[in-house]
Amino acid sequence: MDIRTALKQELIKELRLEDIGPEDIDNAAPLFGEGLGLDSLDAVELTVLVQRRFGVIIEDIDAAREAFASVDALAGYIETRKGELPCAGPGLSQ
């Protein structure tokens, strides 16, 4: 499965976004504020989700600022970091 689709499915499921499907989420739209409408505290669950589901730890604040910009940006961050890690945690097939 495409990482963007998997990421959107996880966002909907884990963040309990109601009345919305993966196709409704614009890959280029901001995750926070306008766009998907997450608020700043949702960064907590988003960080946990990315770590648990994709095995990628978001710790660097500057990188996080870019990664949280959109689904595209977050997917790109995950792909890059998964490639860097010897053991990247659960795969997309799970």
Partner: protein
């Protein structure tokens, strides 16, 4: 008899006094010491308490803490609350300008075993005074990196302790309202075993970030950031209330340890029970220390 005509203004961290008035106190503390500053404070507090607009600021709290108080009693309670608050501000300035603040003791649950667990600790406090001095002491006691999440406004004129000393504080200050990057920085800090100090009695940001709990007999909204961070990081939440015990002296009351389980998610209601435990702990503190809860706006949505 509290008066029923005016509505309290929303909460603000801005001081009643001007920058120049603060400067007078700072100069007095430098030149003559805290005792003389307390004498001036007596007249300043009396002047402010005579003003209905100032008494209204604490009305919502004092009405609930002292229900049925008559006119004279209401005035006395308002004066004592302002006096107690003013003493804390004088002590804070004196601690920065002259030093010598003595942190006497930690009461209640000992925070040191929690600090030694290595999962980080969230110190959840309220506006009860001398928290900065307590944080200085805790930072030194713990030996761990400490972040203080602090609200500030552009017009704030009263200085922090470290702004008087000109030295870096023994903790890092992050401002509230910093966006997802700030939240992530807090989570990372806890995962690295650090200590996070923040306030549990003031809501900032969107209504979705708070839950309704009972406090002094009526519903209030309290923030759930601390419990969300705890659920995500595994850090315990220790409810702590600093208290001024005398001139340039304070103590810290560690009331209760709260451990939200992992995986509670983003729905604020999932954290309501934990926010209620904090509210109940604060209520017990306020019942014992009625003039140590510096609430100058209508917390009760009345």
């Amino acid at each position: 008899m509290w008066g029923k005509n005016a509505v309290n203004a929303p909460w603000s961290s801005r001081s009643l006094g001007s920058r120049a008035q603060h400067a007078v106190f700072y100069a007095l503390i430098r030149a003559a010491g805290t005792t003389v500053a307390y004498v001036l404070l007596f007249f300043v507090v009396t002047w402010y308490t005579l003003r209905p607009s100032v008494r209204r600021r604490s009305r919502a709290y004092l009405e609930r803490r002292f229900p049925g108080a008559g006119r004279a009693a209401a005035w006395r309670h308002a004066w004592k609350l302002q006096w107690s608050f003013g003493q804390c501000l004088v002590d804070r300035a004196a601690a920065g300008l002259r030093g010598g603040f003595i942190f006497e003791e930690i009461r209640g649950e000992d925070p040191r075993p929690l600090l030694a667990e290595g999962n980080g600790v969230i110190l959840l406090s309220a506006h009860t005074g001398c928290l900065q001095a307590a944080t200085h002491a805790l930072a030194e006691i713990s030996g761990l990196p400490v972040i203080v999440l602090q609200h500030s406004e552009p017009d704030d004129v009263d200085k922090q302790i470290h702004e008087h000393t000109g030295q870096e504080p023994p903790y890092r200050i992050l401002r509230t309202g910093g966006g997802p990057e700030t939240v992530l920085a807090l989570l990372r800090h806890l995962r690295q075993g650090g200590v996070l100090c923040l306030m549990g009695d003031r809501v900032e940001g969107s209504a979705e970030q708070a839950v309704r709990v009972s406090f002094l007999g009526a519903p209030v909204r309290m923030p759930c950031l601390a419990y969300r961070l705890a659920s995500a990081s595994g850090a315990p939440v220790l409810c702590v209330f600093a208290r001024r015990t005398g001139p340039l002296r304070g103590s810290l009351h560690c009331a209760e340890c709260i451990r939200p389980p992992a995986g509670l998610g983003r729905q604020a209601q999932a954290y309501r029970a934990y926010a209620q435990r904090f509210a109940s702990a604060l209520e017990r503190f306020v019942l014992d220390n009625p003039y140590r809860f510096f609430n100058f706006y209508d917390l009760w949505e009345s």
